[in-house]
């Protein structure tokens, strides 16, 4: 007698310990095997684009902070890059260097959360707390700079809200030798752990062609073995003055483009960010950081698409100006939004436990997906 079986639909989220916020995944299951994944998003749709139309250009910056709340500095960086391109203004060198330092510190902080929560998703809770302990150090650096821990409103159009604190350079220099051994510690604790490798290697393989077709960018694209980094391939700010490598996935533990590769690219990138910070601190010029801030931001009629390499990938701002003080339209090309759309492609044929591994490895932030 044939046994009657049917597929089961399992809802994961919006409240679920491992969805990194309020994401709902509709899993079509056959036993524990995934037949399809349908992400439902919008549970954190905070109407950013509507707000941007109602605010003046500088007023948008606090809202930009709240898009990808794990890398606020970089969101501001991207936004002001776009507006400055539209205005056609040059900013002082010191401002650019400070922006790069802040951006790279933010990249480390963001990757730490990504790595920590990834470990926690896979059941290893201790690396999560270790990552947060080290992230706390970076946050205290931000705090002496601008007074905020998470959402900074620090990078302004044409300049910065404050100059660096007199102690900042010393503290940042102290941070680098403190943090280097911690990366090794994380590798010993998590990256090369046999169980961790078993869980992540050969899981959720993303071939480079698929990745490009889906528009995936950032560490996820580099995890697929493609050397593509906007800091190198489409340089902005002063990134062309630094010497750093672009780590790519090599398939050391399994196939190129699996979860372990995506994870490990982030570990390697933290190392590279440290290098950039070191060089930027050495070359940091003197000067005024507020001199180029325009009194009134009123760009001419026109449009611009500017992009930067956010910790999660290509963060693009498409701004249309109608010549008034408010932007006519701001569209954010959010890297996580694109990364999440690959879920279905990655998960099919894997098991429930792998959905968690894959979701953690593409490192999404819901604030940015839903905007």
């Amino acid at each position: 007698m044939p046994v009657k079986t049917e597929e089961m639909i399992l809802n994961m989220g919006p409240q679920h310990p491992s969805t990194h916020g309020v994401l709902r995944l509709e899993l079509l299951l056959e036993g524990e095997i995934i037949k399809g994944v349908k992400p439902h998003i919008g549970y954190l749709h905070r109407c950013f684009e509507k707000h941007a139309e109602a605010m003046t250009y500088p007023q948008v910056i606090p809202y930009v902070d709240r898009l990808d709340y794990l890398s606020s500095m970089y969101n501001e960086f991207g936004y002001v890059t776009a507006v400055e391109k539209l205005l056609g203004i040059e900013v002082p060198q010191r401002v650019e260097y400070i922006r790069v330092i802040m951006g790279e510190l933010q990249r480390i902080a963001s990757h730490l959360v990504a790595i920590g929560t990834y470990g926690a998703d896979l059941g290893a809770f201790t690396p999560f707390l270790f990552a947060f302990r080290d992230r706390e150090k970076i946050l205290s650096l931000f705090e002496i700079t601008c007074g905020a821990r998470l959402l900074y409103n620090y990078i302004w159009i044409g300049g910065l809200s404050h100059d660096l604190h007199p102690d900042f350079v010393r503290l940042a220099r102290e941070f680098i030798p403190y943090f280097r051994p911690k990366i090794k510690e994380m590798n010993d604790l998590l990256s090369y752990n046999k169980i961790f490798v078993e869980r992540t290697a050969n899981v959720g393989i993303l071939p480079p062609e698929t990745a490009i077709n889906f528009g995936v960018s950032g560490p996820n694209l580099r995890g697929s073995g493609l050397k593509w980094d906007l800091r190198r391939n489409d340089p902005y700010s002063v990134y062309d003055k630094f010497d750093f490598n672009i780590p790519v996935g090599e398939g050391r533990m399994g196939t190129v483009g699996d979860c372990w590769d995506r994870y490990f690219v982030r570990i390697l990138e933290m190392e590279e960010s440290l290098k950039i910070i070191e060089q930027a601190l050495d070359q940091l010029p003197e000067g005024d950081v507020t001199s180029a801030i325009p009194k009134r931001v009123k760009p001419p009629i026109g449009q611009v698409y500017a992009r930067v390499e956010n910790p999660r990938g290509e963060l693009g701002y498409f701004i249309i100006s109608d010549g008034s003080v408010n932007p006519f339209r701001v569209k954010v090309r959010a890297p996580s939004f694109i990364s999440l759309s690959v879920m279905d492609e990655l998960c099919r044929g894997h098991m429930i436990a792998d959905v968690i591994a894959i979701l953690g490895s593409i490192d999404i932030v819901l604030g940015e997906i839903d905007r």
């Binding site: 919006p14 309020v22 749709h45 905070r46 109602a54 709240r66 999560f128 839903d370």
Partner: protein, 163 residues
Amino acid sequence: MGLLDKQFTDDNIIITKVEDVLNWARLSSLWQMGFGLACCAIEMMATSASHYDFDRFGVIPRPSPRQSDVIIISGTVTLKMAIRIKRLYEQMPDPKYVISMGSCSNCGGPYWEHGYHVLKGVDRVIPVDVYVPGCPPRPEALLEGLLKLQEKIRNESLVKKTA
């Protein structure tokens, strides 16, 4: 709670002592629902992590609403999410408490005017015990909010209605 208000018209010593013990148990083991919404959730995670350590107060995250005592609404509540939050709250067993963390869940925060999809204050769907202001509140502020909640529980009574 007012469960026994027909039997005892006034506080007597036994009831008060029992009350103290029960309140003490409730306030020292507030299990938090592991549930984050937006930016504030990151600060909430930081509060649970090494530096600030929520566990000192007996707060541990529980994944299931059935086993949690306090839900921290940490972030912007959208209309789409509000329905789910209400359901989560209803799934929690009594006695249950709500901490509204951050401006967004207090009143809509920066999204109060043009946020066509933002609920202006989570208190429009569920009752809130403690509001923690800030955007986002620092971990210290959340700890203070927790202490305020403990204060509130300490003064609860079996006999008299408190809420």
